[in-house]
C-alpha cells in the first residue's frame, strides 16, 4: 500500500530510475551520433557524447552516469556501424562517467574539476588504448589517443557550463540526483 516516508521521494521509485536512465541514454546517443563539430584545420570531428556524460555525472550522479554514459555511447557505436567497439565503449565511457560522478559528488571546485578531468581522460583513453592495442597493435593504437583527450577537453569545457545553465533554468533538477 502507501509508501513509507523514506521511499516517498520520486527518485527512489523504480519507474523513475528506469525513466531517467532511458531518457539519458537517448540523450547521450543523440549527443554522440548527431551533434558533431568539425575541428577547424583538420578534417576530424568532435562529438558531444562526452558533454552528455559530464552533464549526467554532475546532475544525476555516478550510477546514472555509468549506465547512461556507457549504454548511450555504445548504442551510438552500434548505429554508426562500429558494433565491434560497443562493448568496449560501454566500459570506457561508463567508467568515465562513474569516476566524474564520484569525484564531483559532494561539491564542485577547481581541484575536483581537474581531478575528474584527469581521471575521466586516463580511464577512457586508457581503456580504448589497451583494447585497441590487443586488437590491432599498440603502435597503431597510439593514433587514437589525441582524439580521445580532445573529446574529454570538450566534454568538460562544454559539459560543466551546460550543467550549470540547465540547473539555473530548471531548478527542480536538483531533486533528481540518485
Amino acid at each position: 500500500m502507501s509508501d513509507n516516508e523514506n521511499n516517498s521521494s520520486i527518485k527512489n521509485f523504480p519507474a523513475f530510475k528506469i525513466a531517467s536512465l532511458a531518457i539519458l541514454i537517448a540523450v547521450t546517443t543523440v549527443f554522440t551520433y548527431i551533434i558533431r563539430i568539425p575541428i577547424a584545420p583538420t578534417r576530424g570531428y568532435i562529438n558531444f557524447g562526452d558533454v552528455a556524460i559530464f552533464f549526467t555525472a554532475i546532475t544525476f550522479g555516478p550510477m546514472t552516469a555509468f549506465l547512461a554514459g556507457g549504454l548511450g555511447t555504445a548504442l551510438a557505436d552500434l548505429f554508426a556501424g562500429y558494433a565491434q567497439w560497443a562493448p568496449i565503449t560501454f566500459f570506457a565511457h561508463g567508467l568515465q562517467g562513474l569516476l566524474i560522478g564520484l569525484i564531483l559528488r559532494k561539491k564542485i571546485n577547481i581541484i575536483g574539476i581537474v581531478f575528474s578531468f584527469l581521471a575521466a581522460t586516463v580511464v577512457m583513453a586508457g581503456i580504448y588504448y589497451i583494447t585497441a592495442g590487443f586488437m590491432y597493435g599498440f603502435g597503431p593504437a597510439l593514433a587514437e589517443i589525441p582524439g580521445n583527450i580532445l573529446q574529454n577537453v570538450a566534454g568538460i569545457a562544454v559539459g560543466l557550463p551546460l550543467a550549470a545553465a540547465v540547473r539555473k533554468a530548471y531548478p527542480p533538477i536538483q531533486n533528481y540526483k540518485w
Binding site: M1, S2, D3, A15, A165, K168, A169, Y170, P171
Partner: protein, 480 residues
C-alpha cells in the same frame, strides 16, 4: 447504479517557487460517479483538468507535492491508499500527449505491456491483445513501430492498451480531438455497453458528445459546474464565455486594405523533397500572402502544412521553383512552434525576453504586462504551459518580424488568450500565417484559407468562408 468514484471538496494548489506563486487551482470539486456513467468535463486550458486526472490516479501528490485536501475514493477506499501501479485494473488513463506514454518499438508489445505487469499467462495475453486490435480496428498496425504512427493512430493504440488491461474507469484527456468522429463515437459507445465508466476531459465542445448520452460539467475557477443543474441557455452562454465553442465572430481585426497590394510571400511551382522514405513530396503551385493579410493554412497531420511554413521561414531548403519572401533574409519571419519549450532556455523571463536584444526596463515591463506574464524573475521553464506560450509569442513580438507564422499555436491556449496574441502580433506584423488542423479556428481569423492535403494545395477559399467550407466538407467534425 453503483457508486464507483466519489470526490468531495477536493482542493489543490501547486507548490510555489521563489518569485512564482500558483493560484488555488482546484477549489472544492464535488463529483459522484456511478458504474457505467459517461462524463464529459469541459474546461479551457489550464483550468486543472489534467491535474484532476492525475489526482484521481494518485500521481499527485506522489510526483508533485503541493497542497491537497478533500476526499477522493474509489469504491469507498481513498485512492491515496493505492500506488499508481496497483490501479491497472481499476483506473486507466490516456494522457493528452501520446508520445509520453509509448515505451516500446512494436504495437503488440505495447498493448501487452500492462498485461505482463499483471503476470497473465501468455495465452490470455495473446487473446486480449488480439481482441484489443479488433475492437479498436487497428489490426493493420500490429507489427508497426508506434513511432511511425500518426497522432490519431497513436491514441487508438493507447486506447487499445487500456482495453486490454480492462480498467473499471477510463480517464481520457483531450484524446477525441484527433480521432475521426465515427470511430471515437463507436469506441465510447462500446465501453458504455460493457459497463465501463468513462470520464472525458476536453477543452472543446465536440459534436460527437451530442450523440451519446452524457453528463456535462464545466471546470471553472476550480469548481465543477453541472450542466443538468442549469438552464440550457445558461450552459451555452457559459461555454461561449469560456471559449469552449469557437464562434466565428472575431471582430477586433480590421479587414484587409487591398488598395495598394504588396506581396509579402509569393510561391509558384515550389517543390520540396522530404528526406528519407515518405510517400509524397511537397508541390505548391500557387500560394501568396499579401501585406496586411491573415492567411490560414489548414490541413491534417502530415499533410505538409508545417513543411510549407518552414520553407517560408527559411528553415528548409526548397528543391526547385519560386519562393520569394519580402525582406529577403530568413530573419523577416517569426515561426512559433506548437511547443513553446523549443525556444526556452534562460533562467528568468527577463533574460529570455532580452536575449540578443537591447531592451530598457520599461520595454520589458511593458511586454510582461501586455502578454500577461507572471514577473521578470521567474524561471520560464516553471511557468504554466499557457504562460510559456505567451512568452514565446512575446519573444518574437520584441524582434519585430514582418511575417508571423503560428503553427498550431492555439494548442494549450484559451481562445481569449489566442485572440489576445493575434491582436497584439497583428499590430506589429505585416502579415500573419496561421497553420492549424482546426477549420473553425482558421475561419475565425482569416481572410483567406488554403487547404492542403498530401503536399498539395487542394483549395483556396476567399469569400464567404464559412459556407464554402461547410459545403466542401459536409462532415460532422470541424477538425481535419
Amino acid at each position: 447504479m453503483k457508486e464507483i468514484l466519489k470526490i468531495e471538496n477536493l482542493k489543490y494548489k501547486y507548490p510555489s517557487y521563489p518569485n512564482l506563486d500558483f493560484p488555488q487551482l482546484l477549489n472544492g470539486i464535488n463529483l459522484t460517479i456511478n458504474t457505467g456513467d459517461f462524463i464529459v468535463i469541459l474546461g479551457k486550458p489550464e483550468t486543472g483538468k489534467s491535474t484532476l486526472l492525475k489526482i484521481i490516479l494518485s500521481l499527485i501528490p506522489r510526483y508533485t507535492k503541493g497542497i491537497l485536501s478533500g476526499k477522493i475514493e474509489y469504491k469507498g477506499i481513498p485512492v491515496a491508499n493505492y500506488n499508481p501501479y496497483d490501479l491497472i485494473e481499476k483506473i486507466g488513463a490516456v494522457f493528452q500527449n501520446p508520445d509520453e506514454q509509448i515505451f516500446t518499438t512494436s504495437c503488440d508489445t505495447e498493448i501487452a505491456f500492462a498485461l505482463e505487469s499483471l503476470g497473465l499467462n501468455r495465452e490470455e495475453m495473446i487473446r486480449r491483445v488480439n481482441k484489443s486490435f479488433e475492437v479498436l480496428k487497428i489490426e493493420h498496425l500490429r507489427n508497426r513501430n508506434p513511432a511511425t504512427l500518426s497522432g490519431g493512430e497513436k491514441k487508438k493504440l493507447l486506447m487499445a492498451c487500456l482495453y486490454a488491461a480492462n480498467p473499471q474507469i477510463w480517464l481520457l484527456d483531450e484524446i477525441i480531438d484527433e480521432l475521426d468522429p465515427g470511430s471515437a463515437l463507436s469506441i465510447v459507445q462500446r465501453l458504455i455497453a460493457e459497463k465501463r465508466t468513462v470520464i472525458l476531459f476536453s477543452s472543446k465542445m465536440l459534436n460527437i458528445f451530442k450523440d451519446i448520452s452524457c453528463n456535462f460539467f464545466i471546470l471553472k475557477n476550480g469548481i465543477l459546474l453541472a450542466a443538468d443543474k442549469m438552464k440550457n441557455s445558461d450552459f451555452n452562454m457559459l461555454m461561449a464565455d469560456e471559449g469552449l465553442v469557437i464562434d466565428n465572430k472575431h471582430e477586433a481585426l480590421t479587414p484587409v486594405q487591398r488598395l495598394n497590394p504588396e506581396r509579402m510571400v509569393l510561391i509558384e511551382n515550389l517543390k520540396y523533397k522530404y528526406p528519407g522514405n515518405i510517400d509524397f513530396n511537397l508541390h505548391i503551385d500557387n500560394f501568396h500572402i499579401e501585406k496586411g493579410e491573415i492567411v490560414s493554412l489548414a490541413g491534417k497531420n502530415g499533410s505538409g502544412k508545417s513543411t510549407l511554413g518552414k520553407l517560408i521561414a527559411g528553415l528548409k531548403e526548397k528543391e526547385s521553383g519560386l519562393l520569394s519572401v519580402k525582406g529577403k533574409n530568413n530573419l523577416s519571419c517569426a515561426y512559433l512552434f506548437q511547443n513553446p519549450d523549443y525556444q526556452i532556455f534562460l533562467p528568468t523571463v527577463k533574460d529570455e525576453l532580452s536575449f540578443g536584444l537591447k531592451l530598457t526596463d520599461i520595454e520589458i515591463e511593458d511586454t510582461i504586462s501586455k502578454f500577461k506574464l507572471p514577473n521578470r524573475d521567474v524561471p520560464p521553464s516553471l511557468m504554466s504551459y499557457g504562460a510559456r506560450k505567451r512568452l514565446q509569442a512575446a519573444v518574437y513580438y520584441l524582434m519585430d518580424r514582418d511575417i508571423y507564422i503560428l503553427d498550431e499555436a492555439d494548442a494549450g491556449l484559451s481562445l481569449k488568450d489566442f485572440d489576445m496574441l493575434i491582436n497584439i502580433l497583428y499590430k506589429k506584423a505585416k502579415s500573419i500565417l496561421i497553420i492549424s488542423h482546426n477549420l473553425d479556428l482558421c475561419t475565425r481569423y482569416s481572410n483567406r484559407v488554403y487547404l492542403i492535403d498530401s503536399g498539395k494545395i487542394v483549395k483556396e477559399i476567399e469569400t464567404d468562408l464559412q459556407n464554402t467550407l461547410d459545403t466542401y466538407f459536409m462532415t460532422e467534425s470541424s477538425n481535419l
